[in-house]
Assembly symmetry: C2
Homo-oligomer: 306 residues x 2
């Protein structure tokens, strides 16, 4: 059996494995993680494939960072405290330069997001990166998609559409000032999952989801899980200066409504709840089903039946 170059790849990732919850890290048949008494495990897996989830000429460092951040966003969406992650990496060959760069991105994300790398598997094949994240939740508590109630207000964190704008910049479809272009590309390659916000929202939010498919689609998932309708007000969508500078405001709003990969949170608060800093009210929960967005209902319609 060729326990070959591929088994040696673990060395590239050996520095990212320490953390308070890690009882046993990389190197045995399993990793062992310790939860605090009364906690439960929250876990999710996210896969990115070359040519599907990132432009083919992306820097390996960016691919590594973004794969971890995208997976971590699911912990944020549940309100979970990050514990660690594993990495299943399939790659065509053991290219040292590529691996060095990729591992730097994984390591940067591991440090930034408090997600030590506790295990993994490396196999030969077409480039595929699968990240499994582990978090802790107090027993009986979680930010679910279900739970939104008629009368709740709908909020989002940060600004929306930046990742879609960044992809447009990368693909030459949008050419803003260099500073704005750089900002948008970074928002695409280096998303910041809202882990702290998620934990904060555990106290009062009725429902939450992270925005990975686009606000319309993800608000649609939340509405369907909760058995309600969500009405969004496009005029309230928070846009970054880089996106607000777009000469075609409708295009910017379409990115904010339909573009994925922002990894912000969309959540529902009851009247009177404390609104966390940096979050914007963008709509409300109504009786009914699906997502309404006056002026963009045609766009919203495509997401009604998920």
């Amino acid at each position: 059996m060729p326990a070959d170059e591929f088994s040696l790849i673990a060395r590239y990732f050996s520095a990212f494995g320490a953390g308070p919850a890690v009882a046993l890290g990389v190197g045995d048949d399993c990793a062992i993680l310790a939860l605090e008494p009364g906690e439960r495990l929250a876990t999710s897996v996210d896969t990115v494939v070359a040519g599907v989830h990132f432009p083919p000429d992306s820097l390996p460092e960016d691919i590594g960072y973004r794969a971890v951040a995208a997976a971590a966003s699911d912990l944020a969406a549940m309100g979970a405290r990050p514990l660690g992650m594993t990495l299943a990496l399939t790659l065509p060959d053991a290219d040292e330069l590529w691996l060095h760069s990729f591992s730097q991105g994984v390591g940067a994300a591991a440090a930034a997001l408090a997600l030590p790398l506790v295990g993994g598997d490396t196999t030969r094949g077409p480039l595929t990166v699968s990240v499994q994240v582990f978090g802790a939740l107090p027993a009986g508590r979680a930010l679910l998609r279900a739970g939104a109630r008629v009368g709740d207000a709908v909020y989002v964190s940060g600004t929306l559409g930046d990742a879609a704008g960044g992809l447009a910049v990368l693909e030459g479809r949008y050419r803003p000032e260099p500073e704005a272009a750089e900002y948008l590309e970074q928002r695409f390659f280096r998303p910041l999952p809202r882990l702290q916000l998620g934990m904060l929202l555990l106290a009062e939010a009725h429902a939450a989801i992270d925005i990975s498919d686009g606000l319309l689609a993800d608000a649609g998932h939340l509405a369907a899980a909760s058995g309600v309708a969500v009405r969004l007000d496009a005029g309230r969508l928070p846009l970054s200066p880089a996106l607000a500078a777009h000469p075609d405001r409708d295009q910017a709003l379409r990115w904010a409504l339909g573009g994925g990969d922002d990894y912000e949170l969309c959540f529902c608060l009851p009247p009177g709840a404390t609104v966390p800093a940096g979050c914007t009210r963008v709509g409300e929960v109504l009786a009914g089903e699906g997502v309404l967005c006056p002026g963009f209902d045609e766009l919203a319609g495509g997401y009604r039946h998920f």
Copy 2:
């Protein structure tokens, strides 16, 4: 964003999600698993790639079953109680017949191994199957690779070399009687990870590993982690009747020593320990390093420096 046919694939797997530890299954941003008080989480990920880990014309049902069983074997090797799993599936298209068959294999393994499917991710790309398994261990206890002591006896469960023999049958390199051929092929496609044995061994074994790379390689991993040498006696290796019938006994022994994918356990017991049923003493732990196997030292040498 095309939350398309691929998001619908979840339906094929929706029936395999129930289990006593599952607080929240498929459908939200994370799954939630509950451990018992005083337990820790054991977790491992295993990826199989088409053309690398299984013959290209394998039945989808067998690919699904084997991917789960191979991952579960890492729980057995730690002595962990199975809790659940997630599946990251990358596939070129949403072929209904393929998916139906594949999901049947996953479901059969989920039921047989008490591993409810609690989450997953499906993406478009070259066929890759990544299974993450979750188990529970009593705090402070685990079957580690490290821990073997000079004077321990080395045991294996079941019979060895059957999966390598099965692969030889599939590839036309070995043509035994039909009944033996069928048995060996099944051992390749439908391995039985030793979950019950692993939990039993927690009480007395000093070290353990599952045999996925082949006995020589895996005993080498165990020896390296423990800082000892392992001497194996090829004459003691347990062979199935189907493999023992091979006209070239040396070939059969080479499969038992070097062939991977049997997913049996190799473990070390101190003198006087109870030997579980169905296990065979195959060697002993000595001072030194590496794996010795008189008569097959050339084969063993290749594995000395992992």
